[in-house]
Symmetry: C2
């Protein structure tokens, strides 16, 4: 059996930039740009909770970094450094070439694309658990936060929502997608794209932002509670893909669209005065951006978030989104 040290040397020690001391000592050492502040986040993926044991390790490596990049996107930060804590079952350690080789390739592919340096980590044996910690740089005082939503703000989302949830429902046999539909939706679940460039561009224009990891209702709900505001959204404005549109307005499709997690799109709020600037960013980055509702002044009586259907009637959604303990 290979030692922990051997595996790290073999699979996780790549040439890194922006790093004074990388993997192989008691800690890594970095020298952040003194003009910047640091955004720091951590996200873990747990077998049986966030993915099944037999998930393609390449996709798992990719996604474990992608979900952390998404947190950087939601802050408007430039992701720079990451560490990786891996707990591996013996079935993986015994087949490390196939599993760790693929996992590290997936992680590395995305790390290279975003020039994120893997500077440290820890490995242990036990039930499969992947914890990534990420550090990004932000201009001083210029970060996107959840708490800045203002009355009258447009509520925007990037991309399309719910495809990852559709793919998951298909895997759980709750819906039967066609092969073409699966091929379209599965990348949203397996290899999501974090909106890193978009987040950085929004710093000058958005009042608040969050990434949609737990579903639109839950994550917009965080913006509302952090900002002490309420909101209305128009269901028919919430952007769904061509596949999603085939299944709307079935309750299951609406649930995927509004409460499905794992999308990693950004939800942000901005003054209507900034619409043309935001449309310009949409054009430049080629990322679809859609206004889905409006931030309201006061807390509403029964709910902070009211959803209207195409007839202008209020909709009640049963599941407010993904909670890591309720799943």
């Amino acid at each position: 059996m290979p030692s922990e040290f051997d595996l790290i040397q073999r699979y996780f020690k790549w040439p890194v930039t922006n790093t004074l001391l990388g993997i192989g000592d008691d800690a890594a050492v970095i020298a952040p740009n003194t003009e910047m502040e640091l955004a720091i986040s951590t996200d873990c993926l747990v077998a049986g909770q966030h993915f099944s044991e037999n998930t393609d390790p390449y996709k798992l490596g990719y996604k474990s970094l992608a979900v952390n990049l998404s947190d950087m996107a939601a802050m408007g930060a430039v992701p720079r450094w990451a560490t990786l804590s891996l707990t591996l079952p013996h079935s993986v350690i015994d087949h490390h070439e196939s599993w760790l080789g693929e996992f590290s390739k997936g992680f590395h592919a995305l790390a290279q694309e975003y020039q994120v340096a893997l500077i440290g980590g820890d490995t242990a044996s036990g039930p499969l658990n992947i914890s990534v910690h990420i550090i990004g740089e932000v201009k001083k005082g210029r970060w996107l936060r959840r708490s800045g939503a203002q009355p009258g703000d447009d509520i925007w989302v990037s991309g399309c929502l719910g495809d990852a949830a559709l793919a998951l429902k298909h895997q759980m046999h709750e819906i039967a997608l066609t092969d073409d539909e699966v091929a379209y939706c599965l990348p949203a679940l397996d290899t999501p794209t974090a909106r890193v460039a978009l987040g950085q561009r929004l710093i000058d224009w958005a009042h608040s932002a969050i990434d949609i990891s737990d579903g639109l209702m839950a994550d917009l709900g965080h913006i509302l509670s952090c900002s002490a505001r309420s909101a209305t959204i128009e269901l028919q404005e919430v952007p769904g893909s061509a596949v999603m549109k085939r299944y709307l307005p079935s309750p299951l499709a609406v649930e995927c669209l509004m409460t499905g997690g794992d999308d990693y799109e950004l939800c942000f709020t901005a003054s209507p005065k900034n619409r043309s600037a935001i449309r310009q960013i949409e054009q430049e980055l080629q990322v679809p951006l859609t206004i889905i509702g409006e931030i309201k002044q006061q807390k509403m009586q029964k709910s902070d978030l009211i959803v209207y259907d195409s007839k202008g009637e209020k909709i009640v959604l049963e599941k407010k989104g993904y909670d890591h303990f309720a799943a």
Copy 2:
């Protein structure tokens, strides 16, 4: 069942210093001192691997931070910020008041003592897994590393080695300590003291350093391989506690002393010219420091590390220390 959000608010949101944005957004934001560089490390504790499921949660919270502080100590860094990824089984979530309440108290007690701010984290449900990420500040270019050992350097260790291993052997019924001996040795295993102040003081005097988490033989071995040196050590010089001395020179006690993990003392090398300066630090910090051997110029034929007994004869030690995959 409480939501993830509720639990974080309740157990992990303490007032923090040195932090621009703490728990509750997509990422935390910090503004490091621009005169300093950052040391970054991560260490995880896994149920069944590093501790048993029924370990006192207070001690687990304490230790999960202590082992990370120890990495900062080994770099000569001042620990400043930490994040915590917790994967919790439903048995814990269902009894969160007793378990998480105690865990967070243990973590918080040590965080307060060292003025480390808990700035973020993630929780999920699954087999118990605790991953802590720590960030410390070091003076520019002035960190302790594993790779600097020089020929002729004294090899030093702090404190006493092997008490944690003795306590573990007792728990595993491989040795029968008296109640008094257990009471003496158990804190080394459950609530170890990271040598944070010592590490910072050694920056001016040591050529290399590591914390002894995997056992003296293994960790000194890392210094030797990183520095491309060899070494000799004198078994009778390796400091053991009064309890340890009662069991020496039995093979099991020698194994605990030389290869037992979880001690979190520092092993460092320094020029003999610096002995009086280091003795001065020993006096000021009231941490016993002991010279146990010497760094040699060249790689030796059979082994990089030779241990001599009190008769000057070479000893062969079977286990080189703790490997996270072999255990």
